[in-house]
C-alpha cells in the first residue's frame, strides 16, 4: 500500500468512527420484531440530517473498503498490485453507486 492509499484509508476510518457508532445506535433503536418500511421511511424521507449522515458514510466506506480489499487481494491471492488495484477500483465504484442509490431510496421524499 502506498502512502497516499494509507492516508486515505486511515482518514476514512477516522471519519467513520462516529458514523459507525451512530449506526450501531440506530440499529439498536430502530430494529424490533415486526418493523415496517413505513416506520423506517417516516423517519428518513425528507431528512437532510440523515441524507448527510449516510451520504458521508457511503462515500467513506466505499473508499475504505476498496483500499482494504485491494490490500487483501494483493497480499493473500496471487494477484499483482495492478490487477488488485483495478478490481478494488471497480468494487469501490460499485459500492459508491449502490450506496448512493440506497441513500436516495430512503431519504428522497
Amino acid at each position: 500500500m502506498n502512502v497516499q492509499l494509507y492516508i486515505w484509508q486511515r482518514a476514512t476510518a477516522v471519519v467513520m468512527v462516529p458514523l459507525v457508532l451512530g449506526h450501531i445506535v440506530v440499529i439498536f433503536y430502530a430494529t424490533r420484531a415486526g418493523m415496517s418500511a413505513a416506520d423506517i421511511l417516516s423517519r428518513t424521507r425528507g431528512s437532510i440530517v440523515w441524507a448527510a449522515f449516510y451520504g458521508i458514510f457511503v462515500a467513506a466506506v466505499a473508499i475504505h473498503a476498496a483500499i482494504g480489499i485491494r490490500n487483501v487481494l494483493h497480499e493473500w491471492l496471487p494477484l499483482g498490485e495492478r490487477r488488485a488495484g483495478r478490481f478494488a477500483l471497480v468494487f469501490g465504484l460499485l459500492l459508491a453507486a449502490l450506496g448512493a442509490r440506497a441513500v436516495a431510496a430512503v431519504v428522497l421524499p
Binding site: R10, A13, V14, V17, V20, L21, H23, I24, I27, F28, T31, R32, A33, G34, M35, S36, A37, A38, I40, L41, V58, V61, A65, G68, I69, V72, F91, L94, L95, L98, G99, R101, A102, V103, A104, A105, V106
Partner: protein, 120 residues
Amino acid sequence: MSAAHVPYQLRHRGSPLWLAALVHRLSGVLLAIFLPLHFLALGLAIDGEAKLDGFLRWSEQPLVKLAEGGLVFLLTVHLLGGLRILVIENFPWTGGQKQLATLAAAVSLLAGLAFLARVF
C-alpha cells in the same frame, strides 16, 4: 506440540494480537461482501414501501436474525479493532494491548448477543 517445536516463522500466530489482526481483516472482508447486499435491500424502497416491506418480512426468519446478530458483532469488532490501530499509530505506545484486544472481542460479542436478545 510445545512452543519449542513450532517453527519460528509461525510462533507469532499464537499471540492474541496476531489473532486480533486476523479478526480485523476477516471482519473487514465479510463486511465488504455484505455491504452491496445491504445497499440493494435498502434500494428496494425506490420502488415503493411494499417492496421494502416484503424484504423486512423475509428478514424475520430466525436464521436471518441470527446472521444479523453476526453482522452486529462484525461491525463492532471491526470498529474497535480499527480504533486500536488508530490509537497505536497516532499516540504513544501504551501497554495492555492484549487485554484491550480481548476486551474489544468481549464487547463485540456482547453487542451481537444484545442485538439477538432484542430481535428474538
